[in-house]
């Protein structure tokens, strides 16, 4: 049983965060390279704006806001799952190398097929998923040791090393094929939101719609897994099967997110932590909060980055690292 006042507290945070996201989104709509004043937002949304206003808001800003929110949520959920199943508070899809695996697959795909907003867009998350899964399996195998199991720090270390090497591989691949595509990979590595268009939103949305309920239904087992292997087995959790399903979900979420946003680390690390700080360790309560915090964090990072330097802006991934790396250090020091 979960205490009533805890549930009420979580509801309050949910509402508060939704409000925060709404405010941030409105601010984000009004800020940017092309001017669009705040008092024109509502008329433009209702279809009474000039052509330019409608174009800026509906074709540029709104899809970008939607993408950042969704990607932030996916990364947060992925991080929450990874932290749960590896019992490792430093886990994050970017830090442990899953993002780079997706990146290598997307690079290969990009070399052989032109990426434009057509049919192929919907395949990109699938391709990214395959790459991310391969990387996840590889890293898991390298970090797993019979007897002592999955050592948390070793997992992070091997993931971090692999992610450097896989980034190197991406650059080698792309620059040996096409000099002019190097720019795309450089942007991808920095984590700049490159797929800010409605088809990309549609490519990302189904993954979240399917996987968020899936993970929430398993929240209870995630709680048990986090207790430890003997405890989870004792309470009747089919350990390997649960882990595999949850890992697949985490990989799919991260892959879907980074396939349109580029490599963004640390969001998946911070969001679940902050959520647990706010409402306690139960995943039923903390996951919805983590989702909202993840979306909000990435939206804030991108809004600041987009406006900090004209015209191309600072990549969202760079902003996320500026905020997230000190947080990671803090966690590392505290233990």
């Amino acid at each position: 049983m979960i205490a009533k006042d805890l549930v009420r507290k979580q509801r309050r945070w949910l509402i508060g965060l939704l409000g925060l996201i709404a405010v941030t989104a409105v601010v984000s709509m009004g800020l940017g390279y092309a001017s669009l004043s705040f008092d024109r937002l509502i008329p433009t949304l209702l279809g009474q704006g000039t052509f330019k206003e409608e174009f800026v808001l509906l074709k540029i800003r709104l899809p970008r806001i939607a993408i950042t929110l969704l990607a932030g949520m996916a990364l947060a959920l992925s991080g929450a799952i990874l932290q749960g199943i590896t019992r490792n508070e430093l886990a994050d899809p970017g830090i442990i190398g899953i993002n780079s695996g997706a990146g290598v697959a997307v690079t290969l795909y990009y070399i052989f097929f032109p990426i434009d907003a057509g049919v192929f867009i919907y395949l990109v998350p699938v391709v990214a998923f395959i790459g991310a899964l391969a990387a996840a399996i590889l890293i898991w195998l390298a970090a797993y040791r019979r007897g002592s199991g999955l050592h948390p720090l070793r997992l992070v270390l091997i993931g971090a090393g692999s992610s450097i090497a896989l980034s190197g591989l991406m650059i080698v691949l792309i620059s040996s094929v096409d000099r002019f595509k190097v720019d795309f990979i450089a942007k991808w590595l920095a984590g700049s939101i490159w797929g800010a268009d409605w088809p990309f939103v549609l490519a990302l949305l189904p993954w979240l719609v399917a996987l968020v309920p899936f993970v929430l239904l398993r929240a209870h087992r995630l709680n048990l897994l986090e207790l430890g292997e003997p405890e989870a087995i004792g309470l009747g959790v089919p350990l390997t099967r649960e882990r595999v399903w949850l890992l697949l979900a985490a990989v799919a979420l991260a892959a879907a997110a980074v396939s349109v946003t580029g490599g963004i680390a640390f969001v998946g690390l911070m969001a679940p932590h902050i959520a647990k700080r706010l409402v306690g360790p139960r995943h039923q309560l903390s996951i919805p909060i983590a989702l909202l915090i993840g979306g909000w964090l990435l939206l804030v990072a991108d809004t600041i980055g987009r406006n900090a330097a004209e015209p191309e802006g600072i990549a969202a991934g760079t902003m996320a690292a500026l905020i997230g790396a000190p947080y990671f250090l803090y966690l590392l020091m505290r233990k």
Binding site: L153, L157, S167, G168, G313, A321
Partner: protein
């Protein structure tokens, strides 16, 4: 530190001679292959005669400074990595992983943004200062716990500090519109090294390597344990400070010349120890030669894989380095 028996010493001599021969061979190969393949006799004439033609000019003005830079940087990074591994007794230590290169990178960005008139020598100095700050930051964080940090934890701290410093450098680069200058400087790699740059870098690296050799004996004691070093009458704090200065010098000028090169400093000392044992008087020269050879190889690959374009050398090193990293992380970094 008694001199080892005669057979081992002779074996070391042979190993060293063989490595030098391999390095020389690699040097010639690297001069021959690239966007334009140049036959051996032209390479020969470029090096040992006063004749002039197009091929010879390519070698003298473009390839020769570049390959010398590759050797110098490879040797410097490998020696720096070896010193760090011995000093911290951490098999995973590497200038690229412990915040040094990221610190130098940030210093370059700051230099270009706020002091654009520094010039080549000034930027090199700035890079070294940045390298020092990056390393002090990571080691300081590591020393903040009384029980000291495990190898793995230190590397993780280093990688997140690096993450942060790189992000900061990039933000500064974009905000002040100098990212092109910074990436021309760092991502350009070994490409476009001039004789003038070598005139600054070579003496510094040579001095650093000599200083490293002077302290190699103390380093060997230190690599066993703090107690052994103290027991042998060593003033460990002093030696550590001196060695740190050497590392910063070597890594700092390397980054200023070619940008970020992770993994060389990690891999090469392990190879060197496998070949010549654990005495740093042997490990350091061996590492320097092997590092030079490895970077020559990587640079030649970088120029030939996608000719006539170049693949970044750092990317090649990263790909070569990862199996190594995984192996060492699995085997050596086990305790936490």
């Amino acid at each position: 530190m008694k001199p080892l028996g005669r057979p081992r010493r002779a074996a070391f001599g042979w190993t060293m001679a063989a490595s030098l021969a391999v390095m020389a061979g690699m040097f010639v190969v690297s001069l021959m292959y690239g966007a334009a393949d140049i036959p051996f006799h032209d390479v020969w004439r470029a090096l040992f005669s006063r004749e002039v033609n197009d091929q010879i000019l390519i070698i003298r003005e473009i390839r020769l400074p570049r390959e010398i830079a590759a050797m110098v940087v490879g040797a410097a990074l490998a020696a720096a990595g070896g010193i760090m591994q011995g000093m911290t007794r951490n098999p995973l230590a590497d200038p690229g992983l412990l915040g040094i290169t990221a610190g130098a990178n940030l210093a370059l960005a700051v230099g270009f943004a706020f002091f654009p008139a520094l010039g080549y020598f000034g930027m090199t100095v700035a890079g070294s200062i940045g390298a020092a700050l990056g390393m002090l930051l990571v080691l300081g964080l590591g020393a903040s716990r009384r029980d000291g940090w495990s190898p793995i934890r230190l590397v993780l701290a280093g990688s997140s500090v690096s993450f942060f410093l790189y992000a900061l450098a990039e933000a500064i680069g974009i905000a002040f519109k100098v990212s092109k200058d910074v990436s021309m400087w760092t991502a350009g790699g070994i490409m476009g090294t001039t004789w003038r740059q070598l005139g600054v870098v070579v003496p510094v690296v040579a001095a650093g390597l000599i200083a490293a050799m002077l302290y190699a004996r103390q380093l060997t004691a230190l690599s066993l344990s703090e107690e052994v070093a103290t027991g042998l009458g060593q003033r460990t704090a002093l030696v550590k400070a001196a060695l740190s200065c050497v590392v910063i010098l070597l890594a700092g000028v390397s980054v200023a010349l070619v940008g970020n090169m992770a993994f060389i400093g990690l891999m090469v000392p392990h190879i060197a120890r496998a070949l010549v044992g654990t005495d740093y008087r042997r490990v350091l020269p061996m590492a320097a030669v092997a590092g030079a050879t490895l970077l020559l190889l990587a640079d030649t690959l970088a120029r030939t894989i996608g000719k006539p374009y170049e693949v970044p050398t750092a990317a090649i090193i990263a790909v070569l380095g990862i199996p190594f990293f995984l192996l060492i992380a699995r085997r050596g970094g086990g305790r936490s």
